[in-house]
Symmetry: C2
Subunit: 187 residues, 2 copies
DNA sequence: GTCTATACGCTGATAGAC
DNA sequence: GTCTATCAGCGTATAGAC
């Protein structure tokens, strides 16, 4: 893995764990094992690293969803799998929250121009979820249902981070799965 | 209003709009109209200001809910009013997110010892909501329902902050109100 | 491509005059 | 209680040797 790629990888992780603004060049450099000076050969400003991290997240998200689409599971199972991310990533969410929601909010508070790009990750999930509901026959309100599922994940992630209560997460996932079953019964 | 109270007020607002760590002493001092030096007469460290802000938020939250309880509205109307906060505070939420969820997450990422106190604001809402559902006759699962309503507000706030789509917020509030009607029908 | 050395503003925080 | 003056440390960023 090239140095630039290592920097983006380390920054991606640190931006998630500590936040964008709090993460210093020194911390990223130390994480990668290079000097602070060498840093500026690859990225001229901190905003450039942020942009690279956002692009990497967009790419990895699209890749993950494409892999899911290629699998044998149907759209209902795929949406269930998406909702269960709050269980799969439970430890990280308890410690740091959802990487998408917390970054977009931090950039909103900073008034950062890259905020819109960060929201793009939400848009990738939204579009993908909409496609799943369309496959399930809910073409008229597929986007509404997609937004509802996104709302669910963000609400659970925020409260999982606050309360760190695994029973709560399990119950809410069960509630969403019941809701999902009702939705496809309607279609 | 005393100087100390003004400091807490300004810090409360700035912590919400800019985040805790990003808000500097200089910014708070400027907002209040005092010098940076005078600051340390009232608060010895930044963490002390944070604690004062959290205590102020706890007090104002309790006060607001007590006022609601004293009103003529029943528990169902009160819960609806709570859910509609995402519309009442729509502008601020679009710009800065939910003050409770974003502070608890920032403190989680910082590993800050006051995180638990910040979560206390969530606990105040949770306890109050639980009481409303108990009044509605859902004693067995009042806490689950309370957590669901909290999950709703946090999810909507995060996506309202990301997408800034007022139709989405309106639709989700309508969806919750429908859900609430179903819940009291069960009881 | 990677390093060391360095500039310089802003941070939280302190000391002491008034 | 409020002020000015000042501190040490860290932040991003640059210059230039290797």
């Amino acid at each position: 893995m090239g140095t630039r790629e290592q920097i983006v990888d380390a920054a991606n992780r640190l931006f998630y764990e500590q936040g964008f603004e709090r993460t210093s060049f020194a911390a990223i450099a130390e994480s990668v094992g290079i000097s602070r000076g060498n840093f500026y050969y690859h990225f001229k400003t901190k905003d450039e690293i942020l942009e690279a991290v956002i692009q990497a997240r967009l790419a990895s998200t699209r890749e993950m969803l494409a892999t899911w689409d290629e699998g044998s599971a149907g759209p209902l199972e795929r949406v269930r799998r998406f909702a269960e991310i709050v269980i799969t990533n439970q430890g990280d969410i308890e410690n740091y929250g959802c990487p998408v929601g917390t970054l977009t909010n931090e950039l909103a508070k900073l008034g950062h121009p890259s905020r819109a790009h960060a929201v793009g990750v939400f848009e990738v999930f939204r579009t993908w979820l909409r496609g799943q509901f369309e496959e399930l026959g809910r073409t008229a309100d597929a986007d509404d249902l997609a937004m509802y599922v996104l709302t669910f994940t963000q609400g659970v992630a925020t409260l999982s981070n606050a309360f760190r209560d695994r029973d709560f997460v399990r119950r809410e996932v069960a509630r969403l799965n019941t809701w999902l079953t009702e939705q496809i019964a309607i279609a």
